[in-house]
Structures are given as C-alpha cells and as structure tokens.
Amino acid sequence: MSELLTGSAGERRLFLGNEAIVRGALEAGVALVTTYPGTPASEIGDRCYGISRQTDLQFEFSTNEKVALEVAAGASACGWRVLCAMKHVGLNVAADALMTLAYVGVKGGMVIVSADDPSLFSSQNEQDNRYYAKLAGLPMLEPATPEEAKAMTLAAFALSEQLKVPVLLRTTTRVNHTRGPVTLGELAARPGPGRFYKDPFHLVMVPAVARQAHVRLLAAQDQARALAETSVFNEISGAGAWGIVTSGVAGTYAADALTELGLTGKVRLLKLGFTHPLPATLLGDFLAQVSKVLVVEELEPYLEDGLKAIAQDRGLSLTIRGKGPGLFSRLYEYHPGLVREVVARFFGVASEAPVPLVPEKILEQPLPDRPPNLCAGCPHRAMYYAVKIALKDLGVEGIFPTDIGCYTLGLLPPLSMADYLICMGSSVSTAAGISLATGQKVVAFIGDSTFFHSGLPALVNAVHHKHDFLLVILDNGTTAMTGHQPHPGVSLMPPGYPGEHVPIVRVVKALGVEQLWVVNPFKYKESLAATKEALTASGIRVLISQAPCHLYAQRLSGKRRTARFQVTKSCGECRDCLDNFGCPAMYLEKGDAGQLQIDQELCSGCAFCVQWCENIRPVGVAGKGKE
C-alpha cells in the first residue's frame, strides 16, 4: 500500500514536498487528480496513480495540461474536490482554460499546483507563475517546506470552496524535491458520485454571462484579500526597526540568515504564504513600523512591486529594495549563503563568508564535465544515427527542429541533431515555418507522449497546408524523461494500467498523412533505407521509429539482455562510432590514441552497432549479464 495512505494523525513522516501535497489532498478528501507529467511536479501524478490503483481515488495522466485542467473543472462543477498538477510551463498550455475557469468558478474545491523551476534544472524557461494568480485573479498559496505544502493544500481546498474559485498552489523545485517532516492528519473519505445541476446562465461563458461572472470574480478577490489579512500562512517573527518580506523557500534562507547574523532582534521577518491577493493592510502596517525593507523572493520582483504600490497608497517613503545591482538577481535559484550575504550588505552588518575553495585551482587542471547522455541501448540514438547517415549518404544538410523529452539530449555531440526548440509540440509547427521560408531539408523530431500532448494539431495543420518536411516520431512506448508515465499511445505500461491504447500509426493515418514509414530503429538496414526514401520524397512525411525505452522495458520485465558485444579488430583511424553515434558503453583505451572498446557492464546488448561496424562482434556471455 502507498505509504501516503498509512499512518495515524499526529505521526511525523519524512515526505517529499510533492508527497506532502498528495497527502494534503487525501486529507481533504480529493476525489479526482489530473496531471500531465513534468519535472518538478511529476511525483504528484506518480503517487496518485499508485493510490488510484488501491483506493477509489480517480486519477488520470491527461494528454496535456489544458485537458487535465478541464477534466478537473468538469468534476469540480459536480461537487468533487479536485487537484490538477503541472510544471510551470504546463500552466501556459492550460492558461486558456485557467483564465475563464476563474469566471466560471468551481463548486467542489479545486487546487491547481504550478511547480516553477528557478535555475531551469529541467525546463525550457524559468518564468514566475505567481503572475498567473494576478492575471487570472485567483487566490495563491506559496509553501516553503513540505510541512507547509501539506497544510496549504488542505487549506486551499477549503478556501476554494469558500470563494468558489480555483486556488493556485505555487511551488518551486526546491519545495517539490525537498524531503522534510510532515505531521499527518486524518485521511478523509471521498464523497461518492457527484451530480451536475444545470445552471447555464452562470456556467456558459457567453458575453452576457461572462460580464456578470467578472463582477463575481472581482468580489471573490476582495474576499480573498480579507482572508489573506488574517491568514496563518502570513507570519511575522522577530522585532526591530528594519524588515524583511519574503515568500517560498527563500524565506527559509532569510530566516537562517537572520539567526546566523544575529539580527533577529533588529529585523522583523514577514514570511508570506498567502501571496495573492496581497494583504494590503497587513503589509502597509508592517511597512509603517520599519525604516527599510529588503524583499527576499526568487525570480521576479512580484512582492517587491506589490509592496511599493502599497507604500505609495499609504504615503510611506521608506526604502524598499529587492532586485538590483548589489542586491538580488532575477535569475536562478537562491541559496542560504547568497541570501545571507545580501542581507548582511543591505543592513550593513559583517558577514563571515567562507572563501570558497575552487577545485580546478587546487588541482591546477580543469575537471571533466559529466553531461547527461542518452542511455546505452536507447532507441532514440539508433534512429538519430540512421537519419544522420542517410543525410550524409544523400549529401544533404538537415535542419532539425526538436521537442521536449529524453531525445532533446540529441542536442549534444556527437549526435548534434537539435537545431530549434521552443516548447512542447513546437517541433512540428516550427518545421513547417522553416521549410516554408527556406526550402531546406527539414527533419523534425518529436516523442510519442509529446506528440499526443500538442503535436497533433500541428500535424493536422501540416497536412492541410501541404507543408514540406519529414516528421520523425520517436515512439519508445512511454513518457521516459519524467519517469515512465503512460500516455495514450503507450506500449510499455505499469502493471494493471487500465488506459485504452491509441496506436500512433492509426492516428497519423487518420489525420490524412499519406507518406508514412514505420521502422524498428534497431534494424539498421531497414531503417536506413526507409529514412532515405522518406528524406527524398516531398510534402508532409511521417516516419515512426518504434522501439521500447530500454531502461523501462528492463525494469518492467526484471530481465537484462545477455548478449554483449566487443571490438575484435583494430579500428585504425576509424572513429565513426564516436563521431556519429556516441554510445556511452564505448570508450577509448588509454586516451585518444587508443583502441576503441565496449564496456561489458554498460553494453545493453541492443546489437545495433554490430550491424554497421564489422569490427564489432558478439562475445560469449562468460558469466556476465544475468542478474
């Protein structure tokens, strides 16, 4: 049984922020959770999927975030408590629904988790989604720790029902992926079937209805502001003539900085957890009591701008600073030492910052990087190789719009097969624009899950407008990058997964794609021949590369392939495999002048390289492999 379903009230557990959110939702009696997997929110879906197999919790990995939000909205309209989780950029996809759902409102409590990613650990941008709360006019809570994540999730459901609007729970990677003690409450039962009561003049957003709905939304915001004024999540600690206003995990760094600098008696700390609408009276009163204020918040000056506006309203002229030269940056994640330095500088106290040791200087030589790489046995690499060699044989340069998934690692040498990327699904549509503008040979790459997420409309567009490019769908049967979640086209799925299989081939054909190739990328001759045909044809063409994610297939089956391969002859000057393929199991003995070898522990036994290099041959199992 999931450990999130066990334990009695008052017990303390070590939970990941994401697990704490799930536990909070379960204690609130959440009936439905929807999501599209995305780091740093992925574990919310993973845990809920497991729980949905063990309880009557309804859960789905929706095809994209907009769909996830709308499925949740429908259920909420029938009285269910619902949670919808996504990474920050997922909320862009769901934004169309979000903006008007704020007008429509909710019946059962609805919590939308937006997991932001300062420092872009695994994202394409580091946008600050607190502005979505402001843009949509919705209440927002911002936890700093797993304990708060649970408490705020629970509170957010009640708040949502009280105000009849969705509540945004805005986290950052450091909150999602920190484990900390969480005090358990009682699990709540789920309510059973809901019921949809017709009320079209409140629920159908035509202009006349929406004009009134907007009035209601503004009234809900006023109510929310009043609740923020007295919320337990907005806490003042310490005393003194100076102030710090902070939110999120940055608040933990600020609190530690005050302790370590001995400033708790000089600086009042206002840690905000209810951050939209801002509690203007609480903040105004705080500002009135101090002579200068430092705002400690990651990313954009959201609180800082709000505080300056409140100070203006109250006629206060104190110094309010946050972002700027010598202070905080709008870039990247903060850390305790950085916050301590800025706090010390701003309040003019001494800080004993350690002089950091620089490993490269101490060693007097550079340290090699350790870039992430596609796994040994990854089907994406095999397909990339076929396209690379086909283009080389044809003497044509390829332009490669790419997409979001493991295969984005094709950017790195030696593959170097990623030329343009914006967001999920952009490979297909940007390929159309590039080919239209240039007539160059455009080969777009998209993964199976991303194809269902947002590649479909772009492919319909390409068929309809007769665009001229080759789309390679890298179908490894799962959503690999985020931890192997299922999607509509899955061929590899967790045991007992109930979803209906929607084969990509059938979808692509049904969209009107007439030039279609389906290959197993590990059958080199066939995939190379098909790729050449597809490259030389014109119009919209789709090549589907079908082979399961090796890592996940192995995990599901519990078996390792036993075949292994080794280089049996001297390679001479040839470095084709290193220059074009780049399998992590291959290495050069004794530096760059050495002979190529294959690491028997790392070799996955995919038998791909052996098909194009006559120096590589199978070796006996010889006690290796089987586990």
Binding site: L14, E147, L159, H177, R179, T230, M586
Partner: protein
C-alpha cells in the same frame, strides 16, 4: 480545516547544526542514502531537511542531495558550508571541494566512473591519487577507500551507498546512533537485498576503522 488554525506544531531543535552533502553519478543510489539518513534523523527526533536532484540530471549526470540537521530551515548547502561530504565517485568527491571548509569530513569512494567526454578522449580524468592528496590538504579529514570493491564483495555492486553509510556511521560524526541507521535500512530495503546491504554497511564501517584509509590534516 479553518484557515485560521495553526498548520503545524513546531518542534524546536536546539541541537548542533550539521550539513551533509552527498554527490555521485546517476544510478549510484545517492538519493536513497540521503533519504535513509533523513529517516534515521527523524526517528532520532530531529527536523531533517533533505533536498534531492531529480529529472534531466539523472541520465548519467551528477546527482547531488543534502541532509541538514539542527536549528536550520534551509534545505540547501552553499559553497564552503558542508560539514560532511559523502562522495560516491572519486571525481565527484573532488568536485565537491567547493562545498568544503577547513574542518569538513570527506568520505569518498576512490572508484571511478569515467564521464563520456573522457571515455572518448576529449577530456582527461585527473589522477585519483593527486585529487585526494590535494583534497586532504584542504579539509579536516579524508576517509577514502574503494567502496565499489566493497560493494562487490557484499554481493551487491549497487550497494556503494550502504558502504558509505556504514563508514559514515562508524566515524561518530553523526548525532544519530548507527543502530538507528541500520534499523531504517532494514525497514526501507527490499528483502532480497537486505543481507547484502547489511554486509555492505558493515564493510564500510570496517573501512572507517582502518587507520590506513584516513588522511588528517
């Protein structure tokens, strides 16, 4: 739940602050090690904060995690502020020198995992002996040994994390008794790995008791 209710009882921990930094390569079990330390600390009455790397970095990249004990709220460790470093791989242990201060205890695996740029001859893997010699000159103490070999010896090559936890527990630098860590290992590891994990833990503890593995300033 009413919005005005206090969200959590705050346990005060006036105990000494301790910042532990774990670093290794994807697949080496750093996350399990930090989680087990956190669980043991929680059982011992601490308010541990454990931060983890997930996502893109796990595809053969560097994976770091932190365990923080004491009267601290921050889940991260800034440069120069780790009291203990657990290095799961030689190069990564050395790279974590930027987290160290003059009193840091570094426990490092001397076994290497060659990064891809080195494997294909585009970069050079530094001499392990030289790295550890320079490292030892900067920190409080270095305990270095081949944890990979000990993991193999335990019957589970993936048990490098257990070897290092065993070594850490045997150094007496933790406020948590070794027995608490062992009992968390017993409840958190799969039945079929339990015997080898416990053996790996013991082998790590034995390595820590061998003065030949230590370099102190």
């Amino acid at each position: 739940m009413a919005l005005t209710q206090n969200p959590e009882p705050k346990t005060q921990n006036p105990k000494e602050n301790l910042r532990i930094f774990l670093t290794g390569v994807g697949g080496q079990g750093t996350l399990l090690a930090s989680r087990l330390l956190g669980e043991a600390a929680l059982a011992a009455g601490y308010n541990p904060m454990v931060s983890e790397t997930h996502g893109m970095a796990q595809r053969g990249g560097i994976v770091v995690s932190t365990v923080i004990l004491g009267d601290l709220q921050s889940p991260l460790i800034s440069a120069g502020e780790a009291d203990i470093v657990l290095g799961f791989e030689a190069l990564e242990a050395f790279r974590a020198l930027d987290r160290c201060h003059a009193k840091t205890l570094v426990i490092a695996n001397t076994a290497t995992q060659v990064p891809y740029p080195v494997a294909i001859g585009q970069a050079r893997y530094p001499s392990v002996a030289q790295m550890f010699q320079r490292l030892a000159a900067q920190v409080g103490a270095l305990l270095a040994f081949d944890a990979g070999a000990l993991a193999h010896k335990s019957g589970s090559p993936l048990a490098v994390n257990m070897v290092l936890l065993g070594a850490l527990a045997a150094t007496d630098s933790l406020p948590i008794p070794a027995q608490d860590i062992l009992s968390v290992i017993c409840t958190r590891t799969k039945e079929k790995f339990l015997a080898s994990n416990l053996q790996a833990f013991d082998l790590g503890a034995a390595a820590a008791r061998d003065p030949g593995n230590w370099q102190r300033r």
